[in-house]
Symmetry: C2
Subunit: 347 residues, 2 copies
């Protein structure tokens, strides 16, 4: 496997190192190329994502990203110019975000139940399209617009992906999350496509829920959800909440997937670069390691993916959550676990 | 006081009756006119909000709304044609949504702390403007757009209102919630206006938080928030979550306020019409009663507002939450409390 790694900013490099340690145990012959994209490169050269680098990235089987973002860079520069640019250029239309409450992990909600859900967030359109602008800036008559772009093509492919995932899961349940009663145009498109695709999946039960009501259910009864399909912005919001409800975004992994496999998919923790935590060796690399599991699964190393995930599950069930250990120590434990008897038994 | 009442659908009429019972105790000479807007009228006549009714509503000092919405009406019809139309026609730019965890009420999150926050949600623009459309409907090339419209005029007036509210509260803290790193145009406008207005309020401390991170903090540390100012859609989402965290939207009240007092403001529970609960006399009228408190405060009956709110606080602290009583019984209790010694002592 040819893997591109973008360690990024803040705790990004720290958690990425541990993720690669674990990866090295399960797929030792991975060919790794590092790319120094992020805040430092932007400060030094003004570059965010040069065309040449984008071209090189395309030559890989997958990308592992740590985190990008730094307080020294104005808001939006790295997000739009690097992170979202990668998602859009590489057509990462399926933004996959599982949220599972692992045994041993405590939730900030009192009655979570057994949460094991997956959010399929659309990744290449909606309010994230970057379409909009300012008119009469800095005057009393200023207008700012943001245009949510939704296409039948773009919606259908993620809805199909979400149905396929739901069909492969024990509960076979899919919830469309939107705000169809207010965003009636986009809501109509999403609803009609979900209805159409559902005809080809009579085995999958389908529900609809407004995004506002979804946040309520995520704190009162999160276990009700199986697969959620939703737009780019709603997906951003509810996956942070789902991550919190399942024990914190220290464990939330994500995949930015081109389901056609034409472009390399990119895997990253849901958490950010956490600049205040950086340099202390105190960040939890679990989300980065779980992102490796999603990556392995995507590129076809199914058994390796299961071993990584089982190692994390075992560690979370047995670790002292008040003192989980330093970043490298957690990485060491997980790297040792992937080849252990405990994990072999579970895979 | 001339009050227009729109009982609406489902449990709307049931909770409104109790709210008026309580109002009758504190402002007995209120002149009430009822308007039968909602699902039934739409089914019978096709009317949502006739111009003549809108004209009559304008002649009142305030409007009390129960809830609108019924499964027999396609999604969006009553929302856009009645509820949002009222908010937009009557220029309800300040959508005021307090979230307070009353003593005696249990939260679905494990460590809520003392939550007493207010969300000032913009109410007349953003993604709710209804601007957008469908192109090539029902073809593989369909496009749906939703345009978020944000104006300096519209943003500044709610930001000013939010700062004034923050300045009048003990903690004097204001948080702007947005997604400035992605919605860079609207985000830039909101950020600049908050910065500008903050210069006139050196006593108010200001923070910024992305909407996704806000959902995390609302479940892990909701007590950190004092006043939040945010756009129409983000406000919709986080106030449902804040309502859930403070014990459920059975107690969440809201005001749709024209801060210029040119048009009557409208007060309503955050909850919906709950059709499955309707007709059983089992709905909790507390949110409707608290909406009356917001209404009284807005029209200047400050002491009456405090009595209603103190009655609710007393009842919530002492009620059996497993069996709070029938709708009318809760209404009776609250109506008796407003003139009681317990409440008089607190006001
Ligand atoms: C950093 C930001 C652009 C990003 C997003 O909004 O998608 C992040 O919040 C995420 O969820 O991956
Ligand atoms: C019913 C709906 C249009 C409304 C909204 O989105 O504003 C509701 O959710 C609310 O919060 O008052």
């Amino acid at each position: 496997m040819r893997l591109a790694v973008i360690p990024g900013d803040g705790i990004g490099p720290e958690v990425t190192a541990e993720a690669l340690k674990v990866l090295g145990e399960v797929v030792p012959d991975t060919e790794i190329t590092r790319y120094d994209l992020g805040a430092a490169r932007w400060h030094n050269t003004g570059e965010l994502l040069p065309e040449s680098v984008l071209g090189e990235l395309r030559e890989h089987d997958a990308i592992l990203l740590g985190a990008v973002g730094d307080p020294s860079v104005p808001s939006g520069i790295l997000e739009r110019g690097l992170l979202l640019r990668l998602r859009f250029e590489l057509d990462h239309h399926v933004n996959l975000r599982p949220a599972r409450l692992y045994p041993g992990v405590s939730s900030p909600v009192t009655n979570p139940g057994e949460v094991d859900m997956v959010v399929v967030r659309e990744g290449t359109e909606g309010p994230y399209a970057g379409n909009g602008g300012l008119l009469r800036k800095d005057t009393a008559h200023e207008i700012a617009t943001e245009v949510s772009l939704n296409t039948a093509f773009g919606v259908e492919r993620v809805v199909r992906d979400a149905f396929a995932r739901a069909a492969a899961r024990p509960r076979k349940h899919l919830t469309l999350v939107h705000k169809t009663n207010v965003l009636t145009h986009a809501g109509s498109l999403w609803s009609r496509i979900v209805e159409e695709v559902s005809l080809q999946h009579p085995d999958v039960t389908v529900a609809y829920q407004h995004v506002d009501a979804t946040t309520i259910h995520l704190v009162t009864d999160p276990a009700r959800f199986d697969v959620i399909v939703t737009d780019n912005l709603f997906g951003d919001i509810i996956t942070d909440l789902a991550g919190a409800v399942t024990g914190g975004i220290g464990q939330a992994a994500s995949g930015n997937i081109d389901a056609t496999h034409r472009n390399p998919s990119m895997f990253e923790p849901v958490h950010g670069s956490a600049p205040d935590l950086a340099g202390q060796g105190a960040a939890d690399p679990t989300a980065a390691v779980l992102s490796v599991a999603l990556l392995l699964d995507h590129v076809g190393y199914t058994e390796a993916a299961r071993r990584v995930q089982a190692s994390v599950a075992f560690d979370l069930a047995t670790r002292d959550h008040a003192a989980p250990g330093a970043t490298y120590a957690i990485g060491d434990r997980l790297a040792a676990l992937v080849s252990s008897r405990e994990v072999a038994q579970q895979v």
